[in-house]
């Protein structure tokens, strides 16, 4: 099972960090038998079986591929615990948009998890777009992740993390 790094603290401030977390969720493939407990399913499987799963008192997450639109989950979001956004390659930047839309437009407050080709070099971008959990593919530790996410003391644009941006710092 991949190791999970979770953000701790408020990413809009200076004191947030990251730590290893117990991952209670199992990634379930489309043809796998359903295990007990909390699961992360593909969007297609969730759309087929989600109603039943959500009603039997377990937590449910959905894995969204980059060519799928998070808007498809709009009505189910309040009942979802995790949306896992896939990075088939780290160069594929579509999940950054998906994450921002989940946070800023669809108001999702559950976990937004980065899965796939997830590298510490992306930490700053991911945190800013609203990701709060990561399955690193490069063996990154929470310490490395925290350091990478804090590398820049200033940011120039508003995003999902609600960090104070350069023009707001200047206005003070």
């Amino acid at each position: 099972m991949p190791k999970l790094i979770k953000l701790t603290g408020d990413p809009s401030g200076k004191d947030f960090g990251a730590e290893w977390a117990e991952d209670g969720f199992v990634h379930v493939g489309d043809d796998d038998a359903l295990p007990e407990g909390d699961v992360i399913l593909s969007l297609a499987r969730f759309q087929a079986e989600g109603e039943i799963l959500l009603s039997n008192s377990r937590r449910v997450g959905v894995r969204v591929e980059p060519d799928q639109e998070v808007e498809a989950l709009a009505y189910d979001l309040p009942r979802l615990s995790v949306v896992a956004l896939a990075f088939p390659k780290y160069r594929d930047g579509r999940a950054y948009t998906s994450a921002r839309l989940l946070r800023e437009r669809l108001g999702f407050t559950g976990q937004v998890r980065a899965v796939g080709d997830v590298l510490q070099e992306q930490a700053g971008f991911m945190v800013r777009c609203g990701f709060d959990a990561f399955e690193p593919a490069d063996g990154a530790t929470p310490e490395a992740w925290t350091k990478a996410a804090h590398r820049f003391r200033h940011v120039y644009q508003r995003a999902a993390d609600h960090r104070r941006v350069a023009f707001e710092e200047r206005a003070v």
Partner: protein, 552 residues
């Protein structure tokens, strides 16, 4: 000029520290070359044929003297004593050692320069009219908006891994010196019916393998909405641009596939969902940026300078320089001076450390500490008093920088080509040098008039050959360099894509062919027609005959 504040400076220091750390990991063997590649590319460091090349961003082509001197120092300390200005108004150093790169970035950061986003699939250096703030034609200063976009796009968390690179250009004047119609986004400042300022928004122009003149997707966008609208364009592109084929990944392919109307509809729909109050720049910050560019230190001068008139009357060289390289300024008693980096026989766009220092001194003493780079790979002293023109001209002449050939046949744009570039199929620089020699006689060059010749060493079109009056594309034919000619392109306000003239020519036949094209033009032109106008009137045929009849 916009001056970096402590926030901008700390940002560059953080960036430089990050890269130093990454280089150390690479040199210690903790990162493989494959893992290191995207990291160095994000800092403008390419591995070329012979060495690393470092591309340094010059936002909207604007430099002060201190920055230009630092570039000269880098050329001398870490390169072979020269730098190469590019069609994105940037500068490249072609002989860099990896171990020196972090020190160079530190040296750049000290003068508010950097190499952020000069490579990679992100929003690249925003380019603008090099006459910004100096030309009377201007509706608004494009540097204000370029700087706003520079900050907004710097390490943008959502748009740093786009399908492909993304280039934005802005002009505030109707004469387009920024090639806005062949950019991913081209912005033309317009005055609205209500007297307010806005943008015409052009999306999906481009060059490369599939050249397009971009369509206008919005004829008027109120200026204060720029950031939210650009965000909408980038979001539609980030989500729907192709990622399966690198050659079909630019936004122009998406716009062409959807059609401009449907693309515009999707952008408008997305724009409608964006919280504009959060996405747009607050008026107070816009005012801060605008104030940085407000030039208040012009002197009140008469329109005619006796010093200048007397010097001009006595010097045919100065007369020629003024005819070709000096442009009208919005302020009475001032002029815009173009500094050609296209001396006959020179590598187009190259400047030596000594030349950079001369131009830096001139900018400081005679041009309000302001220096510009043009997309045609020349430099501009934007604010020179007419009184000072003779002195400036003499100083340029002494440094080999007074070639009076702006927009003439020898003012050739050329990519680095096979002499440097790992992607090139053919050399571009020697072809440019050969052609320039044909127009070494300045009387002949002036008689021919405006003629934009542009050379690319491969299909990626860094030399802008598609939008040249005469374009030259180097191709590899069974291990031999061949050159395909095209006619009738333009990157200006009358933008068009050139048409291929006929079969490719070997390297030694190119300059004679250009000669034949020019002779044909001189023969058939009427009145004040430029080469481009004549071509548009008569078409390819007479030119084809001139080149290929001679070859038979």
């Amino acid at each position: 000029m916009y001056l970096y504040d402590p926030i901008d400076r700390e940002f560059l220091i953080d960036r430089s520290n990050e890269f130093r750390h990454q280089v150390a990991r690479r040199l210690a063997g903790e990162l493989t070359d494959d893992q290191f590649k995207p990291l160095r590319l994000m800092n403008g460091l390419y591995l070329q044929l012979h060495a690393y090349m470092l591309r340094i961003a010059i936002p909207y082509g604007s430099l002060n003297a201190r920055q230009a001197r630092r570039l000269a120092w880098i050329a001398r300390t870490y390169d072979k004593g020269y730098g190469h200005f590019t069609t994105r108004q940037n500068i490249q150093f072609n002989w860099i050692k990896l171990k020196d790169a972090p020190d160079i970035l530190d040296a750049l950061a000290e003068v508010d320069l950097h190499a952020i986003q000069t490579s990679g699939n992100c929003i690249r250096n925003v380019t603008a009219d090099p006459y910004a703030g100096a030309t009377a034609e201007e509706i608004d200063d494009p540097r204000v908006w370029s700087e706003v976009l520079r900050q907004w796009s710097t390490l943008h968390p959502e748009f740093s891994f786009l399908p492909r690179k993304f280039k934005i250009a802005i002009t505030g004047a109707l004469t387009d010196r920024a090639a806005v119609k062949v950019h991913d986004i081209g912005l033309i400042l317009r005055k609205g019916r209500d007297g307010q300022i806005g943008f015409e928004v052009i999306v999906g122009g481009g060059q490369g393998r599939t050249p397009y003149v971009g369509p206008t997707i919005r004829s008027y966008l109120p200026a204060e909405h720029l950031l939210s609208y650009v965000e909408a364009i980038l979001r539609v592109y980030n989500r729907h641009g192709r990622r399966d084929n690198i050659y079909k990944a630019r936004i122009k392919i998406l716009v062409a596939a959807l059609g401009a109307e449907e693309f515009a509809r999707q952008v408008e729909e997305e724009w409608g969902k964006i919280d504009a109050a959060r996405a747009n720049l607050p008026a107070s910050e816009l005012a801060r940026v605008r104030a940085a560019f407000a030039q208040t230190n012009f002197e009140a001068l008469p329109a005619v300078s006796e010093t200048f008139e007397a010097a001009r009357a006595a010097s045919p060289a100065l007369q020629r320089f003024v005819r070709n390289n000096v442009k009208p300024h919005k302020q009475s008693g001032y002029a815009i001076v173009e500094v050609s980096l296209k001396a006959i026989g020179q590598t187009p766009g190259d400047a030596t450390a000594e030349q950079l220092e001369v131009v830096a001194d001139l900018a400081e003493r005679y041009s309000l500490d302001d220096l510009r780079v043009t997309h045609a790979q020349n430099l501009v002293l934007p604010h020179v008093k007419l009184d000072d023109l003779p002195t400036v001209h003499a100083a340029l002449e002494a440094a080999g920088l007074a070639t009076a050939n702006i927009d003439l046949a020898s003012d050739i744009i050329a990519c680095p080509g096979l002499d440097y570039c790992a992607l090139a199929n053919a050399r571009a620089i020697p072809i440019a040098q050969d052609i320039a020699k044909k127009f070494a006689d300045p009387d002949r060059a002036e008689k021919v008039g405006e003629l934009k010749i542009k050379i690319s060493g491969c299909i990626n079109a860094c030399g802008h050959h598609h939008v040249a009056h005469i374009g030259i594309l180097g191709v590899d034919k069974k291990g031999e360099e061949f050159y395909q000619l095209s006619l009738g392109g333009s990157g200006a306000e009358d933008a068009s894509i050139g048409k291929i003239l006929g079969p490719g020519l070997s390297a030694d036949k190119v300059a004679p062919a250009i000669d034949a094209l020019v002779e044909a033009y001189l023969h058939i032109r009427t009145g004040e027609e430029r080469f481009l106008d004549t071509y548009r009137r008569v078409g390819l045929e007479p030119f084809k005959e001139a080149v290929y009849a001679q070859a038979d």
